[in-house]
Subunit: 140 residues, 2 copies
Amino acid sequence: MDAEARLGAQVRSTVGRLYRRFRSERPDGSLGDAALDVLTHLQKTGPQTLTQLSERAGVSPASMSQSVNRLTSAGLAVRTPDPGDRRKVLFSTTAEGDELAASTRSQRNAWLDSRLRELSAEDQATVAKACELLDEITGA
Amino acid sequence: MDAEARLGAQVRSTVGRLYRRFRSERPDGSLGDAALDVLTHLQKTGPQTLTQLSERAGVSPASMSQSVNRLTSAGLAVRTPDPGDRRKVLFSTTAEGDELAASTRSQRNAWLDSRLRELSAEDQATVAKACELLDEITGA
DNA sequence: TATTGTTATACTCTATAACTATA
DNA sequence: TATAGTTATAGAGTATAACAATA
């Protein structure tokens, strides 16, 4: 096995472990990771169409439709018809959605942030740089 | 937001994006990521009990029981009663499981490996170091 | 009693296929 | 015809609760 293959396997392993850890932090009855990700994104960008959301997340429109349904059912987001093209629907957060997104994010980041705080400044920079490199790889 | 909080959010975002990309590479009819991870682990370590597998993966024993059921149903792993403690069951790979794990892993790592190969040696080292740091954080 | 594992049930997330409405 | 979105259905992965078998 060459060096790149070993590195690929390591990245895959590390990412899988971290992701499962993140996912397991969901308190009972709260939003799942996909729905929370959409809510956070809507907060940052403002109203988005279903197609925009599904392309950004890398999932099918049908899958995204169900994710936003969870948000609208819970009163965290709303649908607004696009006045210019009535095939389109714009999704946006409600005040309740904004509040929930902020509090949930800070709760879920607490564990990771406290651990990262224990690293040296140099190691923190290494992690930040690696994230940039990996984001480029995924086209983010 | 302080520097650690920003870094935590960045790590979470990068990991989520990479994980979803990995998961989407599953060809139709093939093993899911959780089952493949167990198969790979069994290959490396040899026979393991259900409790060992569930603790290592960070999931409930009930969840792991269903994952190994997918493997045994497909003929990729087998159950063996522990002779010394008949409450325990040892899971191990079959020859078919070994073959499938090897071929599936190389297929799925191909995309990531080719991208990592485009990075400079220094950037590759940065990614490797970041994986080590993050593995320590998750207790791996 | 405690430990090991399984089954029953339910929720999230994902996909494909088939559909409606609008352009 | 093509595009935007939805619904129906199915499978993977997860959890909790309730259970059986063994220590």
